[in-house]
């Protein structure tokens, strides 16, 4: 094969499958770039061979199905998180992925890299939020795992398998996510206290939505001390007032807009790494071999030298 080929941007899942089929026949390596926002972030991305042809999912975007009353939404992988947020906000709902790094990335990349954010502990990680997904594997077959309902144990769990697999097993084309209704009250404070208080707040009688020590960059932007805590509580008014009283006992409070979280997410680099346990590596490789026998999808993610 030649060096980096031009970017392919399929406009349908069938077109994507054709690209993978052709690539497999020619043993042409592919690099899934979704929106391309995070392509140079983290170890696995840098391991992916630079001579692989980039395949962009940016043309595969938009909502496939959304029934607000079900609090589930099926969206194409190239949709950005910002677009997803806007769609849900119309119905006073939200998708709680909110990963570190901000809202510029796509739904597909967030699940493929299993990127967490400040809400993960309270409201679930990507593996807890994905209800089902569709992907094109290295055999160019289009596969669906899971479903569109909030509870489902039919079949082996291809959804959990694909979330966090860094595009090495298949190109995610569509994801069904669990949504939440926006809480009645949602407040955020900067708490000037010992950083060690974070653990106490997390384990307190009222569970916070998020607790994060401020980095130098976010502290400067918020005009706060480095190491002060950004704390978020949500629920009904009585609950959040009780939480505020509890926080007051820990240190002085400065209330701020929820937008402070966007800032903190953007200034905290996402943690993305895939380091397969040595013991589980043979199994991971057997799975890779069965979903991408020609090793054309994001080669290098498992540390293999292609």
């Amino acid at each position: 094969m030649t060096g980096t080929s031009s970017l392919a941007a399929p406009r349908s899942v069938a077109e994507l499958a054709d690209i993978v089929r052709d690539a497999r026949a020619a043993v042409q390596r592919l690099r899934v770039v979704a929106g391309g926002t995070w392509s140079d972030a983290g170890t696995p991305a840098s391991r992916i061979r630079a001579d692989a042809t980039p395949v962009s999912l940016r043309e595969l975007r938009g909502v496939v199905a959304y029934v607000p009353g079900d609090l589930t939404l099926t969206v194409r992988a190239g949709t950005t998180l910002a677009e997803l947020d806007a769609i849900c906000a119309e119905h006073n709902q939200w998708c709680t992925l909110t990963p570190w790094g901000g809202n510029h990335g796509t739904v597909g990349a967030t699940f493929a890299t299993a990127t967490n954010g400040p809400l993960a502990r309270a409201l679930g990680r990507p593996r807890d939020i994905a209800l089902g997904l569709e992907f094109v594997d290295g055999l160019a077959t289009t596969v669906r795992g899971g479903g569109r309902v909030v509870k489902n144990v039919a079949g082996f769990d291809l959804t959990r398998l694909l979330v966090g697999s860094f595009g090495a097993l298949g190109v995610i084309t569509e994801v069904t996510v669990r949504l939440r209704a926006r809480p009645a009250v949602d407040r955020t404070w900067i708490v000037a206290c010992e950083p060690g208080a974070a653990a106490d707040i997390r384990r307190g009688a009222i569970t916070p939505l998020a607790v994060e020590p401020l980095s130098a960059a976010s502290a400067a932007a918020l005009n706060a001390e480095v190491g002060a805590l950004l704390v978020r509580f949500a629920g009904n008014a009585a609950l959040v007032s009780a939480a505020e009283r509890m926080l007051r006992a820990l240190g002085s409070l400065t209330e701020c807009e929820a937008s402070a979280w966007s800032l903190v997410r953007e200034t905290n680099a996402p943690v993305r790494s895939i380091e397969q346990d040595a013991l589980a590596l043979p199994l991971a490789r057997r799975i890779k071999e069965r979903f991408d026998p020609a090793a054309i999808l994001n080669p290098g993610v498992l540390g293999e030298s292609a």
Binding site: V163, S273, A280
Partner: protein
């Protein structure tokens, strides 16, 4: 018994002791069934390891003999997942030690045979509990729960088994040992633990399991709302969830279930003239809980509830729950056999699907008692019948086929928490494409290339194409 089985039994007896290997027809009789009525499958032999080392050695001996096997917890499964048709059954009931409870980390490590409720009892002194609570929790095991990714009423707020398993030591069918753990802030690679949970015993045998323990709520409030129409109750479910309240549990019991419960020793005081009742529980910090109760009451009343009863003290709450948790037992008075069905529909489609289920029941002349996790859209249409009457059993079977088809047509699933096992196998092809089923087979084959663990379950065998490594061979 053939000579190969004799030799295998002797080899296993050397590992676990002769008392813990059963080969006689009368000894195996008890292991022919699980919670799925109508099936009797005799295992080739039964072996019960007493600890982790024995369990590993048993799987390795079976690998050496190339002998297929099925693991069994308490045999409470409702989809036939632990039925062993002529293959070795590994019974996990002797491995029931709680190995460690770490109150600081809020976790526990257990052997797979630990009974679900025993873990909660052991965690109580620390103010903690194990949240997933299947109705069979007094008997079912954590290992079985992991195999089936079991749910329960309180999974609406707290999540299913998958969300509570932190790590597991797994022996693969070829004898390889793995430590799987949940990917945390820093990913640990493919989510192999996520794939293992709910794999219905087809990927390997867990020999120890680490689970999350959940702090006991400061306050709990249980409500009973009674409705004159099923539609009203179903509408209330959607409006409560849409309002952003996440109840700990939100269960619906219909008139058929109420009649069975109230005529039994489990009578819970459900109004017998109601078309349906909702059992709603909220829990958490005391602050704000009363406001949630008031809001839920408003939603129920607006949807047509005649009354909403509230219980806060433990005895009154236990009574309200008794009817729900013992409903299956109460249905035992109605008929000798009970088909406990399991399916999921989008929450907003509950009312039309329940009407369709009623229509199907009437058409086939059977009785359906609905008692289910309404907040999740997870239906349990239960059918009491006489399993010895083959004509009636055939009608029940036909009705189940139509109920599954109705749920699939609404965009739902054929199982929310009981698993596919044997019972749901025929519906897998209605739910998934051949390519998706083949992908599931490929995943299983990576864990168990010899297809030795729980053969013939979850994915119809004829949907598993032979896997071939070379591109030329497939094109």
């Amino acid at each position: 018994m053939d000579s190969n089985t004799r030799i295998l039994a002797d080899r296993l007896a050397n590992i676990v002791g002769p008392r813990h290997v059963k080969t006689g027809a009368s000894e195996l009789l008890v292991y022919e069934n699980d919670g799925l009525p109508g099936y009797h499958k005799r295992p080739r032999l039964f072996v019960a390891p007493g600890n982790r080392e024995e369990a590993i050695a048993v799987v390795q001996a079976l690998a050496a003999a190339n002998a297929p096997w099925v693991a069994r917890g308490a045999g409470t499964g409702l989809s036939g997942g632990s039925l062993a048709d002529g293959v070795v059954m590994i019974g996990m009931q002797r491995m029931r030690r709680i190995l460690a409870i770490d109150p600081e980390a809020r976790s526990a490590t257990v052997e797979p045979g630990v009974v679900n409720v025993s873990l909660t009892k052991a965690a109580t002194p620390f103010g903690l509990h194990y949240a997933p609570d299947p109705s069979s929790q007094a008997a079912c095991t954590i290992g079985g729960n992991v195999a089936e990714n079991a749910g329960g009423p309180h999974c609406l707020k707290y999540g299913v088994t998958l969300n509570h398993v932190l790590a597991a030591t797994v022996v693969l069918p070829d004898g390889e040992l793995l430590e799987l753990r949940t990917p945390d802030a820093d990913a640990v690679g493919f989510d192999l633990l996520g794939a293992f949970v709910g794999s219905e015993g087809c990927f390997g045998l867990a020999v120890d399991i680490t689970v999350r323990l959940t702090p006991n709520p400061e306050r709990i409030c249980t409500m009973l709302a009674d409705f004159t129409t099923v539609d009203g109750a179903a509408d209330a479910v959607s409006t409560i969830i849409a309002a952003g309240i996440v109840p700990a549990a939100l269960e619906l019991v219909d008139a058929g279930t109420i009649a069975a419960v109230e005529a039994s020793i489990y009578a819970a005081g459900y109004p017998t003239d109601a078309a349906a009742c909702l059992l709603v529980e909220v829990d958490g910090p005391a602050a704000g809980l009363d406001d949630d109760v008031a809001e839920i009451t408003r939603h129920c009343t607006a949807a047509g509830a005649r009354s909403v009863k509230t219980a806060t003290d433990a005895a009154a709450r236990a009574k309200l729950w008794q009817g729900r948790k013992k409903a299956f037992g109460a249905m035992g008075r109605v008929a000798p056999t009970l088909a406990v069905q399991d399916a999921v529909v989008p929450r907003t489609r509950l009312a039309p699907v329940l009407r369709e289920v009623a229509r199907i029941a009437e058409k086939h002349g059977i009785r359906v008692c609905n008692v289910f996790h309404a907040g999740d859209g997870n239906l349990h249409p239960n059918i009491p019948y006489n399993g010895h009457d083959s004509a009636e059993a055939a009608r029940v079977h036909a009705a189940c086929d139509e109920i599954m088809a109705a749920c699939i047509a609404e965009g739902g699933s054929i199982t929310g928490e009981h698993g596919v096992g044997l019972d749901k196998l025929p519906y897998m092809e209605d739910l998934f494409t051949p390519d998706s089923l083949d992908a599931m087979c490929r995943l299983r084959d990576a864990w168990d290339p010899a297809r030795r663990a729980n053969p013939g379950k979850v994915v119809p065998v004829h949907r598993c194409r032979e896997w071939m490594a070379t591109p030329a061979a497939r094109s």
